[in-house]
Amino acid sequence: MAEENILSEKEITEIREIYSHFPLKSAACIEGLKVVQKYHRWVSDKALKELAAILEMSPDAVDSVATYYSLIFRKPVGRHVILVCNSMSCWIMGYEEILAFLKGKLGIEYGETTPDDRFTLLAIPCLGTCDHAPALIIDEDLHRDLTPNKLEEILKKYE
């Protein structure tokens, strides 16, 4: 019995639409990975292989692109991804206190997901909002001028 495909018809159509604009199918590699991630939160080995077949690339070639970029997730992530800016200005303005608070509150380290699948904690370089440091992003929301108290309130919004 054939195994069920991970990528839906809808996803495949989206990926085809992307490469139709380019001289080569492989030009849709990054965008294709983004489509997969949009529907599955992360890119599993199986999804990666299916994408490779659509783009007429080897799975290794797709993986070498996937692993190069820090925002393509090759491991499962939780319902909400917290990206903490760990760069210079945030470091000067109290990054370590923010990180210690988060780690204590969630009981996880960088790269880990809470057991209830609620949060994944990751570091990200400068978010381009250094005048409001320290800063972080949860999903698509930017939170700035952080203090542990403020962060306590912010986390409550993400179930």
Binding site: F22, P23, L24, S26, A27, A28, C29, I30, E31, L33, K34, S64, V65, Y68, Y69, S70, L71, I72, L83, N86, S87, M88, S89, W91, I92, M93, I124, P125, C126, L127, G128, T129, C130, D131, H132, A133, I137, E140, L142
Partner: protein
Amino acid sequence: MERPLTQHIKNDGTWLNLKEYEKTGGYQALRKALSMPPEELTTLVKDSGLKGRGGAGFSTGMKWSFVPMGRKAPTPKYFVVNGDEMEPGSFKDRLLLEENPHQLIEGAIIGAYAIQANFSYIFLRWAYHRAAKAITQALQEAVEAGYLGENVMGSGFNLDMSLHISVGRYMCGEETALLNALEGKRANPRAKPPFPVVSGLFGKPTVVNNVETVSNVPHIIVNGAEWFLQLSKSEEGGTKLYGASGRVKTPGLWELPLGTTLRELLEVHAGGMQDGYNFKGALPGGGSTDFLTTEHLDVPMDFKNVEQAGSRLGTGTITVLDDKTCPVGMVRNLEHFFAQESCGWCTPCREGLPWTAKILDALEDGRGKMEDLDILTFQTRYMAPGNTFCALAPGAMEPLQSALKYFREDFEKHIHEHTCPWKS
């Protein structure tokens, strides 16, 4: 004081939509540009003295003039806006991307027309979600109004412009690596020559310009080269988005004449240091620039003068180091960033940056030895310009080499006291 780039920004949480932008005179520059021969536009931009605001400061008009023109030129050509902005301490393009997307789009249409490109991309970093929304909406409005697409404003010129959202890698900001990313590949830099202006995206002539650079273009077209030159306080034309972060009273971003001094930025615009903190140094324009210190406070912040002071204007957004923050810790934070973001293509950078970061870890933990300072100095020469494939590694050495020069006793204290003096 004129602030062409930012004067119409609303500060009410919404960006300038098409109607509002048109009310400020928006798209009049495009109308004028389309009535001029493309080469004349390039000459006008060259005469204005506009230098690229992405860090390297190369003449924009000159760059455009290297693109093959005429009926025998390869097609298609591409005009790409670099909105990757991932250098620690830099936050200027974000404002223009989020608050005035049409100004950028109009500049990009004019740039594309000047080099006769029929395709244009705005390359944006993933973290700028609000900018992505603003640009998506603005692109749609521009197409509906006939500023983009087939037969732009009835001129016979066709232009397709799209937004490309990156998936996170500092290297994507380097112009040849950016082209690889646009082609769906790993963002490794390409060998130069050939330069992108001759062989860029998919092997075709491509101009890559920074967001702030492109946003200046409509104003130059409407007001002329002379006007642009007189905006600045120095021989290099225009205004500059300057910013400050760190322990200053009012961190922020300001559009000021190019050539404003570091002192004015710090004392007037950033409001001086926070109470209880003193100024120790500053990186003038992002994590890949050399420290300036109190002796440089009167340096005009333009490309030439900052270079003469031993650093680079870079992005013009300064990061302030105060006397209660460990300079070794600050440099260590930066070297970890650069080590992580190295693409691994060439050995000096791939091996040298993690080594550098590890030595700085040892110093920070009080495990450092005097020889470590020699090794760090050696690294700055080993990764000097010309020794690596791209400018990432030499850029990474700039804060380190200047910290070793100006804050040497702080490094030595770590070694003698076997701990970070700022922690005890």
